[in-house]
Symmetry: C2
Subunit: 282 residues, 2 copies
């Protein structure tokens, strides 16, 4: 579908995206842009990219520019890209927040060439070594401010994501950030905090290692996530994250209060209510 | 190794235990005991058990009696079993708490026939349909108060768990309950509370369903767990669970405070500290 694509950032998301497009013959040539020489070397070695170039040169050669770097860095880098882009090119990002980025591009003369996307897939690992085949399938891809993008550009990006097995969900940027706080960002905060809880209480690291079972690993898995990626997300989505974090602390205090007061009827009710999540998640 | 084993409770743990022993030829005949006729029927149908009997008759015919029912029900049922047991039989439980049960059996004349075990494996599902092949492998099995059990009985139970791929960890009952609160019970509470948080904040159930990705599913998975199993665990292990829950709320308040005060340096520190969990979990 594309002759040449540039991925800005050569990590988990962009690397997996490149592998997926190459595997399906959707792109011939992939250029990688990264400030980190070691990442470029690794990305070339792993076949995530075919060539490395500075940003401007890469953009000029590309049909699609796909940006997957920390969301704070995305804002100025995207400005630089959009200032060079022509009406025959498409620019898309994969960021976990959308409001700040969309705002920053709102008045750009080339705004219609940009498609704001958030493929809701990831793992707790980062860097080019974290890229995997078969990523994205079965998950949602949110597209924001669809009406501000060129219809053809949107159709092409949707077509790609659908070929990767994703279903498309449309939202305005504000709604996206709110829902992302509920469904994704809070899970990372609870996981980080749970890891710190256990590291604080369980001074015998060997015991953690010996006893940790599937349940613990599953709830604490996201605590391995890269702060360089997640700090800017929490920062940009501060209000929504605080809102849901306050609710989460309130919910935990209900459990605490039930245990303190030995109110086991209400404790059972809280657990039964939580069970409803299985009805929704299937 | 055994001719006849009774499993008391025919669910996730006892069912998977039965399948594992049968698969390895470690038992010839398995008797199931359950108050629920439907569970007995299902367990027979799934081949988890060969026969169903009332408790007393089952115990009398068994070389090993394996109890895996909610930890509050375990206490009186175990008393009934131990009152019938002879010096040629072994009794073991698989409960997630150990202090209350061990205390209740401390003065029993047949105490040495009982081995207190906690194979630290499970899923969020329950009932006979939840039983799976290949369970237990790679996880820890805690054995408590080893010195109060007959050495031969301990050796036999250890041999079985090792053949299932588990490694054995020895602890006194109090230490077990403390460590279990840190490594397992708190994960369940955070998961229950996270489910309630999202159900409270995200009124659009369809959005949860559409957007939920791997990270959310992983942190909220344990919220599907059965309250009939987990309420008695929290009740018996109340002091330790409250202790670690208080710490967890304190850790979450640090994240909240960082966001409120926009203290992003400290927020990064909290996340980097949490990352240390990957060093321990590998």
């Amino acid at each position: 579908m594309f002759d040449t694509m540039t991925i800005v950032g050569v990590g988990l998301i962009s690397g997996s995206f490149s592998l997926a497009l190459k595997e399906r013959g959707l792109v011939r040539h992939v250029i990688g842009v990264s400030r980190t020489a070691a990442s470029i070397g690794k990305a070339l070695e792993l076949g995530l990219i075919d060539e490395a170039l500075p940003l401007d040169a890469a953009v000029d050669k590309s049909d699609l520019v796909y940006v997957a770097i920390p969301v704070d860095a995305t804002v100025p880098v995207m400005q630089q890209i959009m200032d060079r882009v022509t009406a025959r090119q498409i620019v898309a990002d994969a960021g976990s927040t959308k409001h700040v980025l969309c705002e920053s591009l709102a008045g750009h003369p080339m705004r219609s060439r940009f498609v704001a996307t958030h493929p809701m897939w990831g793992t707790e690992y980062s860097g080019p070594e974290a890229a995997v085949r078969g990523a994205f399938a079965g998950r949602a891809c949110v597209i924001c401010e669809k009406e501000k993008s060129d219809a053809g550009a949107v159709a092409i990006m949707e077509g790609i994501y659908k070929q990767l097995g994703m279903h498309i969900v449309y939202m305005d940027a504000h709604s996206h950030d709110m829902h992302a706080a509920y469904i994704s960002h809070i899970s990372h905060i609870t996981s980080f905090a749970l890891a710190n809880t256990v590291l604080e209480k369980e001074k015998e690291e060997n015991t953690i290692f010996e006893l940790a079972g599937g349940g613990f690993e599953s709830t604490v898995r996201l605590a391995k996530s890269n702060p360089a990626m997640w700090l800017p997300i929490f920062k940009q989505n501060r209000d929504h994250v605080l809102d849901v974090l306050n609710e989460h602390i309130a919910q935990l205090r209900k459990f605490k209060s039930c245990l303190e007061k030995e109110n086991y009827d209400y404790l059972r009710e809280l657990m039964e209510h939580a069970n409803e999540i299985s009805r929704i998640l299937k």
